[in-house]
Each structure stands twice: as C-alpha cells, then as structure tokens.
Symmetry: D2
Subunit: 456 residues, 4 copies
C-alpha cells in the first residue's frame, strides 16, 4: 500500500472517528455548535476534494472551539490517532526477519502517529502554521490536568523541531524602522527586564543598541526569539543603566563591548525548540562584522536560582541525623536577606557582599543536578553554548526581581568565538565549567556548612 493510499484510508478512518466524536458529544445547548462544525469538517474528508480547502475548514472550526471543545479534540487526537501497537509489532517483526526497504517503509509508516499527518494537512491552510502553534499553547495548558496528552505534545514538538529548523529561520535586525506590529510584540514578550512602553522601547533600539530576532517565513509577524544588546565601553556589570529610558545613547563606534543583556523566547507554542544558542552566536558574528572595534562579547545575566538554593541549603536535614549549629554564618546571612532592609543600608551591603558573592560563585561552579550539569538554568544554557563564567557583579540588578532571585547579583558569561567549541566539549563530555580566576577564588571563600553536598 503506497503512503498516499495509506493516508487516504487514514482520513476515512478519521472521518469515521469524527462521526463518533460528534455523536458522542451533544450539540451545545447555546446552539453555537462549534464541535459539530469540526465534525463536519472531519467527515467531509471522505470526499477529500481539496485538501487545502478542507484544511481551511478544519482550522476555522478549531478556532471556534471553546476550552472544553478543544479538550475533546485533543483527547480525540490522543486516543484515536496513535499508532496501533499490534501493527507496529508485526511490522517490526517482519523487518527484523527481512530488513528490506519495503519492510522498513511499512514499519516507519505504522509507527508514526497518524496525528502527525493530520497536523501536516492542517498546515496547508492559510494561517495553518499559526493555528498549530496556538493549538500547542492550548494543549500545554491542558497537560497539567491531562498528562496522557503528553504524547500529542511530543508529536507537535517533533514536527515543530523539523519545521522551525535553523535552516528555515531568518535573522532580522529590529530597530526603530521596524513595523509597529512587530515592536509591540517585543514589549509584550520581553521576559527578563520588562519594557515600560514605547519610550523605553525606543531607548532600547537607539544607536548604541542592537536587537535581533529570528523569524520563520510562515509566521512573518511573530518573532520567535529576540536578544537585546548594549554597545558599551568596558564589560557592563550593572543592568539598571542599560534599561534606563533617560540614559543618553553613546557612540557605537567608540564601544569595545557587546553586552547581551536580555534574551526572550516569544512563543510558548514552540517550547522545547531551541533557538537561543544559534541566535547569540549569529548575532555576535554579525556585530563583529559591522563593528570591528568590538572586542568583548558577553552577557549580563541573572542567577535566577541562587536565593532558592540558599533557602534549600540553609536548613538541610542533617545526613547523620545530628543537628547543625543553628548559629552558622550561612544561616545568619540567609536570615538577614529575608529582611528587605539590608539593600537600603550601605553598611549591610558592604558586609554582605563578600559572603554572598562567594556563595553565589560556589552555587554556579559547584552545585549540580543529578546529571552533573549546573543547577542554575541560565548557567546551564550559556556554559552549554561554550561561554565562560567570567565575572560576578555585586548589586548588578537592584530591581525587586533581581533582589528576590539573586540578591542583586548579576553574572557576565563571556563568549569568545574561538573558544566556544573547546569549552562546549569540555562542558558536555567532562562536565567542566570554564570560569574566570576571580570567580574561582570567590567560590573558595564560601561560608558553607560541612554536609552541604547532600542537599544539592
């Protein structure tokens, strides 16, 4: 049976299922009948006169669904459009006995969940890609209550990983010439340092800044991910001047550093498709080409898990059952952090700097997950890209969020294009974290209780 004939049969089967779905679910009392429209769209596939036209109907019907309607549709996708394990077992067995191309093709065919082909067909419709991305947003929202839908989600992720392949993306510079339609999405999507309206945005796109985004041709109005870069003299250690709308723009020709101070994924529906690593490297390459005076490419990054870890480590259950001295230095420090007053008090700021920076360096260098990679997600991302943990900045982010997450500490990850590959290899294969000397020294002084390693 050819692949086409197979899908022909599949679609008739979908239509049959569609009838059942419609039969099972009574028309809504308010008469909107969205699901019925969906059912009709599915049923009409029997004729399959025009795949694109039909896809259009299905898309339109889906868009009218309310939340319960969507949930029923997802359940249908998960229940009915999964592979048939009997047939897969048979096909695998046949292939094992005779590994011919025919047997392999048959195996591949029956093992692929039929909903993947349904998604591909829905994509033929105008606006299909956008609808499928939106569909996954809705699906992710259901996963908490319906973990059995994870298989559907995996199929969408698999498809999106293929469709949103780096080779299909375009890198575009965002500046004050960009369409307002796009710019307002930057305001909405900025996830690290919120943009306070159009004046703030304008400053972030001034001549001493750069902003780049990845786009996909099928979603021309939707940035997938974007990065904001400040061109500075020296490696910036504090984020507040960078996001101050009243700061005067400097001369980009005088800058020697490009500071990546914010990177935001825009599409919940593309969660799990990785763009950030490509984006940073390509933007660094672009900037190097545009401004030969740039010598340093580094981030100014938060340490989002630092204070959470401090909380976890403060009062561990002792391994041996013995009690830890309640008056340890670590406990004293963490106790003081809870009291917001310290950040307004110069003396306390000074007093806390050394122990907190040491603890943070330790956290970034030595605290790991079970797989041996750093516990901090931002560290994991940049170190995985081959960057180096270059410097800690005390009071680098004095915003409420910065204080709450990382006691105001920010970090520079340094991207040296000629060392990324080697660093990456050491990180992936040997779990080595490359760090600047100052960070390593800081970590040595961390006021830690003895059995600390058991709690990480």
């Amino acid at each position: 049976m050819s692949r086409t004939a197979f899908f022909q049969q599949l679609f008739e089967s979908i239509a049959d299922r569609g009838r059942e779905v419609v039969g099972r679910v009574p028309a809504k009392p308010d008469g909107t009948g969205e699901l019925a429209a969906l059912g009709r769209a599915l049923l009409s596939q029997r004729g399959e006169a025009s795949a694109a036209a039909l896809a259009q109907d299905l898309i339109a019907a889906y868009r009218k669904l309310d939340r319960p309607g969507r949930r029923r549709f997802f359940t249908f996708l998960g229940d009915e459009l999964s592979p048939d394990p009997e047939r897969v077992t048979e096909a695998a067995e046949a292939y094992r006995r005779d590994p011919s191309p025919e047997h392999l093709a048959a195996l591949t065919r029956v093992a692929e969940p039929p909903r993947q082909e349904l998604f591909r067909r829905m994509n033929m419709a105008s606006g299909g890609t956008q609808t499928l991305v939106d569909l996954r947003v809705a699906l992710i929202d259901e996963l908490k209550d319906a973990p059995e839908l994870r298989a559907v989600d995996q199929d969408l992720l698999h498809l999106f990983s293929s469709w949103f392949n780096r080779g299909f993306l375009t890198l575009e510079r965002i500046d004050w010439r960009t369409a307002a339609l796009i710019l307002e999405k930057l305001i909405a999507y900025e996830a690290v340092h919120a943009i306070q309206g159009w004046d703030d945005l304008r400053r972030r796109l001034a001549r001493d800044r750069r902003c780049f985004a990845f786009f996909h041709p099928a979603l021309p109005d939707e940035p997938l991910i974007f990065v904001e870069v400040a061109l500075t003299r020296g490696m910036a250690g504090s984020v507040q001047p960078l996001i101050d709308p009243d700061d005067q723009p400097g001369d980009p020709e005088q800058a020697d550093s490009a500071i990546f101070y914010s990177i935001s994924n825009c599409q919940t529906g593309l969660r799990g498709v990785s763009f950030g690593s490509f984006l940073i490297k390509q933007v660094a390459a672009e900037l190097e080409e545009e401004l030969p005076n740039l010598k340093t490419f580094a981030t100014l990054s938060p340490v989002p898990g630092f204070r959470k870890w401090l909380e976890d480590v403060r009062m561990p259950v002792p391994k041996t059952g013995g009690s830890r001295p309640p008056g340890s230095e670590l406990a004293r420090i963490t106790a003081r952090l809870g009291d917001g007053a310290w950040q307004e008090d110069t003396a306390q700021l000074k007093e806390l700097q050394a122990p907190l920076c040491s603890l943070c360096a330790h956290y970034l260098l030595n605290v790991k997950r079970d797989d041996g990679l750093p516990r901090d997600p931002v560290a994991r991302f940049h170190l995985g890209n081959g960057a180096r943990l270059e410097r800690l900045n005390w009071q680098g982010d004095t915003s409420a969020k910065g204080i709450a997450q990382s006691a105001g500490i920010m970090v520079n990850y340094l991207y040296r294009l000629d060392q990324l590959e080697r660093n990456h290899e050491a990180f992936v294969n040997r779990k080595q974290v490359k760090a600047g000397r100052s960070v390593v020294q800081l970590a040595h002084g961390a006021p830690l209780p003895e059995p600390l390693e058991h709690v990480t």
Copy 2:
C-alpha cells in the same frame, strides 16, 4: 532517556561509524581526500560544539564527493542509520502492554530512521536545503543500480513532504520584471513545450500571458513548479499559435478564457511531493480576481500515453487463444500511423480524424489501470483535481513530439471552480470520469476489437 540525549548518543554512534567508513576506504590516490573530509566532519560531531558549524562542514564535505564517494555515503546512510528492529519490537511490545505516552514516545523514537535526524541537522547549514535536494537527485540516480537505497529515498521524500508543505510555499507571478536568474531556469525546466531562448520566453510572458510559480523560502532562486497560461478569446484547441514567438500579443481585457498550456515540475529532488493541483487552483483563483472577464479556465493538454496504448492494443494476445482478424480497422489505422507520411497528406488527415479521435476518447474514458483510474497520467492528474474532460482537438499539436505521443491530438480539461469538489469526489470514490458530451459520443464510435478490455 530524553530525545536530546538520545540524539546525543546517536551522533556519537555516527561518529564511530564515520571512523569506520574512513578506515575502510583508503584515501584517494589523487589526494583529494573528499571522503576523509567527510569523515572528519562526522567524527568531530563527538564534540558537537556547534551543530550549525558542524552541519556546514558536513555539507561542504558532501559537495566535494565524486560519484563513488556519494554512493558510499548513501550506503552508510542506508546500512547504519536505519532503525534497530530489535529495539523497535521491544518498544512496540512495551507500548502494547501499557499504551502510556512514555512508551509511545519511546516507540516513535526508535522507529524513526536516525538518518532523518541527520538530514534535519544537515539542513541547519547555510545552503543545507539545496544540498539535500541535490543529494536526492544523486540518490535517485543510484536507485536503478541500488534498489536497497529506496528506504533512504523514502525518508527524504517523507521529510520533503513535510518541509515543502503547501503552507510554506509562496505563489509568485513570473513576468518580464522577474530576475534573469529565475527566468533562465524557466527556459531550462520547461518540460512540455520547450522554450527556444530569450525571445521565445519574452513572448510567453507578454501581456496576454500569465506565468506563476511556487517557491519555498529556503530556495529563493529555485522555482518548484510553474504553469504558463494564455489569455484567449474562446477555448484554444491548438498549441502552436500559443508558442509562436512571432504571435502578436492580444488584449488581456478582451480575453474570456485562461488556457493552462504548460505545467512543469522543476526539481527532480522533490519528485513525489505534489504541487500541481494546488498551483492550478490557486492560479485560477488569482486570475479570476485580476480579470473578471475570464469565464473559462481550461488546460490544453497532451495525451502522452495514447499511441503507446494503441501499440499495445494493436496486437494483443487473444484471451481465448483464438486469433484476431489481422485486417481489423484498428490494425490498419495503427499501421498507417507508423508511416510518418500521413501528417503531410490532407486526405489522410481527414480520413484518420474520425477513427483516431474516437479511439483517443475511448482511451481517455475507458482505459484504466488496475486500481480503476485512467491509464493516461495527464488525465489522471487533471481528473483527480476535479476537472472535466471537455474537448478533443484534432491536430492540436503538430510538433514531432505531439505526433509521436498522441497522433497530434490535444485535450481541454475544464476547471469549473464550483464543480471541482463534486467531480473529484466522484472520481476518487466511484472512479467516474466527468466528460463533455462530444467526448462521450466520440468514444462510442471507436473501432475496437472485441476482447479489448483484457489488454488495458
């Protein structure tokens, strides 16, 4: 194991295989060492610092391969990067026992041939998509001698069907404002009525013509398929005036018919990905919008299998073992066709018109493949789109090719946008061929021997 970890492992396995490949194949005596470069690219994946950079290396190495080198690479893809049947059987069994999302995910993962992921990674490189399309051209060329590579080809086709989904294509008008770079490809790719250089092309893009092509954003300089349309008064029945470079352009506002007289697929590497049906329908919709005076949308098409069928039917082995009368009219007619003289002789032309047109109508209406669909591929395509077999045109194509394939007969398939769906349904589900009355009547008079049905 997560999908990412899985592929991590896969790539290390690829690298190991790469080493073997390199080890097995001695460096070429002329020192070009293309395969060695490929091997290094594969091997270096162990580090996988930068997937895109690595993909670039692999692409570059592939491009340097000579034909034997490519064959070795294809064999590597087919032998080493296929699913492991043992693991598939196990995963299928596990899924059968407990159809959980995790088991399904595991099954899907092991059943997908690893080369699909390799192709997706190669696509990350600049120029990756083009290289993969070229790679399939080379692969198709090997299939004759190496049918075992069909599974590799199936995977590429599967991937391309997903990537070149209708939703990702753009329809673009081609005219004299189009880049010469594109236009010269039209000259090269025209498959139906060859374009004789730039003057001929210019006539085909004059104001009473339209030409549209599908493009994919990753191949901006490569039309995937294009269609040529003539705007005429009345439904054109003869192609020679349409392709005469000296013909004077008419006024498009005066035309009432859009004649699709040539449709050419451009990319051998995308064989099996279907674009034509979408293209014709969308172009018809565009033209209807642009020129409301157009009332008729029809093709002027060849009947490429007609004379071949006549040859087959002339001397069938009688079913019953009895002998057919050697002097039958059909035999006389087909015998005369072999002698090229008839086409220059008005009397013969007149004499042959009725029987040949009748036979051709019969061929198109009644001669089927085993699956019940028409034997003629062009008929199958347009009828499958929901078009109607409207008219036969005697001496519609007097070129050598036209005479050789279809005794000079051309056919109009009529596209009535409001009937496409119904016709399509009848064709797919009930194998019905919609045809104009004149064609049906012609078919009744076909001078056929009795046991004809046995040979089709």
Copy 3:
C-alpha cells in the same frame, strides 16, 4: 558663454564673497568657528574638484551654524546672489531687438537668481534635500524680522514647487505595519485632532480606518502630508467618537462612508507647495477601488474662523455713524458664548442651536474676502477642490478647541468624484459655493443686523 562656464564664474564670485563674509565676521570667541568652516567650503569652490564633495562640506558647515550664523548666511544669499539688474536690462533689451534663442537663453540666465543654482548644487550632497527644507524652516523664522529675505524664500519655494511636483510623489498607506520612525512623526505632526500617544495612534490605524501620506523619494522618512479617514455607516457628524481610543473598530466591509476627519501638512519648509487637493482625490479613488461598498466620500471639518468672525461682526462701527441697538439678538448670542457655561447646560444648548447654526451657515455661504472667495480657509480649500458644503453638525466637536473656534459646529464637505470638476469651475470662475439644501435654508434664518456686509 555656456551655462556651465557661467556658473563656473559664478562660483568663483561666490568664493570671493565667501572670503569677505569670513573677513567681516570675526571668528567666534568660543572657537567653534562654524562660519569659518562655511567660508572654507565656499572658498574651496574655486577648485571645484568634485561638486558633490564640496556640496557635502557646505551642507556640513551650514548645519553647524547657530542662529546668527544662519542669518548672516541668508543675508549673503539675498544680497550677493541676486540677479544683476543692469545685466538683466541689457539682456532684455537685446532680446527685444532680436528675439533669438541665444538672446532668450542669455536673458533667462542672468534673470535667474544665482542662489537657485547654489541650492541645486547643495542638493547634490547626501542629505541635501533635507537640509534645504530645514534651511527654509529657519529662513521663514527670520522673515518676521527680515522681510528683505522674502526673495530668497520665493526662490526656495519656486525650487521646491518644481522638485516636489506631484509627479515625483508617492502615495503610501500608513498602518500598524508602518515603521515606528514614521508613526512617531504622525503623532508629532497631527495638526487638527492631536494624537495622545501610541494607543490613540493605534486606534486611528485600526481596520475601520485608513491613513495615507505623500512621500518624496529624497525624504523617505518624512511624510509630507497625511490624511486620516474613518470608515463609517452613514456620514459622521461628530468627531469625538472617531478619536476615542476606546471605541471598538467596526467592519470596513459594512461601511458606506469614508469620512476624512483630519488632514495635516507636515513640513513647514514646504509651506506654499500644495499637496492636499491631490491627496484627497487620490485617496478617494484608492478607497473606491478597495471597498466598492463605499458610497459617500466626505470630510468632517472644523470652521476655524466662525467665532472670530462673530466677534468681528458683533459690534461693527455703524456705517452711517448712528448707533446699532445694543440689545440685538446677535449681540445677545455672542455675549453668551463668551461665558463658557452654556456648553454644560442642556437648555442653553438647545436654545443656541438654531441661531448659531444659521449664523454659521451664513458665514460659510455668504461671508467673503476681497477676492470674492469665502473668508473661512477650510471652506476655501474644500470648495476650491470642487467639494460641496453638505451639512452642518451642531456639537460636532465638543473639545475646548472646537468650542473656542466654531462654537462646537463641524461641517461635512461632500466629495462626489463626478461633480468635482464642474463645482470647481463654478467656484473659481463664478465664485459660486455649492451647498446642500439644508445649509442654504439654515443661512436664511441668520439673525443678522442690517449693515452686516460692511464688516466682512
């Protein structure tokens, strides 16, 4: 002497003048030496190696001038770069005696102020056009104090009228896809109903609105003039709903009227170059093409001179020297307007409606300037375009500005494309004002004192 040689000589003369200018004006004590830079630019014209390079220097020097420096430069343009009347008289005399092409060419050459050629040469520089437009803004600012510079201004206007000829402009639609760079200029330039930031702007560019602007290729980031249009059901009579940022957008397909509710010239430097008439007519034609459901094209316009005229007419000096009855109705009405309370008081609003609308209709229909054209500038503009004064709208603009200028009355001027030419002709040649019946009837009831005509 060829034109080129003539200008060669001219430029040497300019350089000589430049030296004098520099000599006359001591270098600024703060050492900036802007004028010296200008002088050098002028002086270096002796070599004139590269006109474009030199123009660049001159432009750069001009941009550095402070206000006194610019004034000196303008004076130089006016004093030194005017035609020489002796030479003009001679050339005219020679041409009168012998009207040969040579004599005519000589006359044209000496009569054209040399600064026109200087401006053309300055325009060769990158950014030249923008600088010249800016220069005229600065010049206009000086005209109050230096009326002798009007001749320089006339030359710039003459040049700009030629360069910004309708044939060189492009009409562009402005919407939410437009660059922020352009959009922020709309906010800045809107002269009729101020735009209150980006949210307000966004509403004005929603799907039931249209905005178009003229651009010149040499000033791609500068709209020259733009018009805002609301697509409504029925001819809108009140502007507040149209500029309410919270108003819900309607369906443009359901609209039957296009209301031009704001038209703003953007460039002070192009004052006197007329764009508005072209813009309205072309936008009306565009909208008619895009939305065939539109039947009515009309403005919603202020009556900016109404209350000023009421003030003028309230207490005229009686023609005969006798006194007018102080208790006349007109006086009573105008007296009450001064007291802002009326607009909050329903009873007064009702009482004032009839007399004020009648007075306003009278003002628009019957009150003229010395040249016989309407006194109201907005009326003059639209009636001159061939529009018809269709309707008065009581309380059409309840903003402070609307109350202050026109007692809140707004007017619809109706653009019927098939009658514009006839109306225009009647207006220009016979000073006839085309008006709707309701407006004419309103005017009859105006409570006017007898000798009113003397004060208009």
Copy 4:
C-alpha cells in the same frame, strides 16, 4: 499678482493659443484628430478643475501626435510660451530702481519662459516625466531643421538638470538578479562595446564583473547611465578578453584592479545632464568598500579622435605658404593606415607601434581645443574628473571600430581617489594634463612636422 494668479492667467492664455492652433490646423483627413484632442485638452484648462487630470489629457494627446503634429506643438511652445521682452525690460528697470523683493519676484516671474511651468504641470500626470523625456528626444530630432527651437530645448535641459539632480538619483547594482526588463535595456543602450545578446550579457555580469547604473525614482525602469567594470589582476590593457563571452570568470577576491571598460549614457532626452563623473567616483567608492583587495581603479578607454586628428594633421596648409616635404614620416605612417592590411601583418604591427603610440601620446597630451582643453572628448571627460593618463596600450582594441578610430590603441585613465581633487584643479585652472612618465616619454618621440601646432 501672486504667482498662482499669474499662472492662472497664463493658462487661460495658453487655452486661447490652443484654440488658434486648432483653428489654424485643419483636422486630419484620416479622422484621427490627434491635434484636436490636444486642443481640447489645452482649452479645457480654462476650467482647471483638476490639474493632474488635465495634465493626463494633455500627455495622452501629445502621445498620439505624429511628427508634423509634434513639430506644430514645439513651434507653439517656442513662439507663444516665451517671455515677453517688453514686460521683462520694464520689470528689470523697476528692479534696478528699487531692488525690493517684490520687484525681484516680479522680474523672475516674467523672465521665466511660461513653457517651463507648462512642463512642470505636464509632469503631474502619471507617466509625465517619461513623456517629457521622450518629448525632448523628438525635439532634438527637429533641431537640425528648426534651430529656432533651441530655446525650448534649453528650457527642458534646465528643468531636467534640476529634476535629475544628483541628490535625487539612486545608484543600483545590476547583475543577474536584475529584472529582465532592465537587462534588455543594457543590451540596447551599450554604446562602447556592443553586447551580443543574453549570453554575452550574462558574462558581463558574472562574479568577476560589476555593473552599476543611476536611476531616477520617476523612471524606475530606465537606467540613466551605466558602467561596466572588470575585476582583474593587473591593469588590463586589452579589451577583447574582457568582452569575450567564453572567457572563464575569475575570483573577485583575487583581483587587485577594477577596470571601467564601458560607460554608456542611456537617455538621449537627458543629453547635457551630466552623470558620468558622479557615477565613476561613487562606483569606485562602493568597490573599495566591498573588495578591500582592490588597489587600482582605472578605465580602459578608446581614443576616439586619434585617427581623425591624424587625417587632419597629415596635410596641413603650411603657415608660411611654403610646402611641407611630402615624404615626411608622418605622411608615410598615415598613408599606410588607410590600407587595412597592416593589422594582419606582424612585421608592420611591430614597425608601426612606436610611431603611432608616440603620436597618440602627443595627441592626448598636447593637442588642444581653443579653450585650452584636450581635443579628445574621452580624455577631456576623464582628465576633467581628476583622473591621470596612465598608460597607452598598443593593440588594445582590435575590433573594426577600434582600428578605425584609434588604430587599435586604448588608454588607461587612473583614478586615485586621493588625487582626484588636486588633478582636477590643475586641469580646470591651469589646463594641466596629469600623465604617467611612460606616456610623457612616448610623446617626446612623436614624428611630427614642424608647424603642427597651427592645425590642432
């Protein structure tokens, strides 16, 4: 009287003249009545409802004129739309007595030929600029027979010099991505080394070539001037390899020289508006930016006047009345050139090289027009741009045209961007010709008769 009122009156006068024109010229017997249409357009200006609409009519009527009709129109422009010398004299006199801005404005107004305003109004029509450029082509064609129309031509030139100001032009790269519509114009307009069809063109746009053109926004499909550049190793001395369609393209990254081997003005209608100097300098700047490896920017130019000068100098009338020795070397050389055989004969080629190259060097360096500038027009152009006469190339152009014009010699003019200004100044002010040492030495050896300077 305002300028507007003035032109209002002017147009009424035009309309009156229009009536006369129509009255004077009987409708054409073939009933086409083009001129009548023109007359109606002119007459209807009395109403002047819509300047743009009217301009459209006038343009359309003009386009229908046959040659006699155009001639009548030109005569009308020249006779009726010239300044009135009486009024000019009066205005000049008034201005002389009182040089007020008002008197100057009045003078400028009456001295400008009214046809300039007519041309500006015609330009408002869609396609107006193109029509005016075409109009000048037709006018230039009439000038031979009607020298009195030169004043009309001067006005068009004056207007075009203003409209086609460098500041309004865009430089565009032409390559194989350019629209066929533009490319076919290159084939048509190439004036130096004819392009032999599309294959030849394609070679000239290959990767080791560059082609740039100036465009004006109002004529987007019409290149104004274009230059062809070859990227070579070493300064090319022979043009045949550069225009050989079968030559293999080199690597532009390896090139050290950019050879400007052809520059063609495209628009007869813009004759006298100078673009070439700007084009060469800007293209050189672009190339320097794109390819930093380029060190030499030079032309490979013909010496179009060389053999004509040789003819002139061969038999001068002796200054003193005495006779020149008929057997002089110069006479022998020139006599042999007439016999085409020499170019096929290696011995003769060798023998002639030294004297001809010396003569050519002398011609370029020392032979001047009355104004002291070089007699050779190509030399005048490049030296005037500040280029240096660098090298003579024997047998640089072996085409028939090359032999006929310059005995096959070609010249390199070297553009050193940092010396252009100084060279230009020396050339313009002191008539100095900058030349390479080898050229100067060559010139010393020229076999010239004594009284040669008298004949140049």
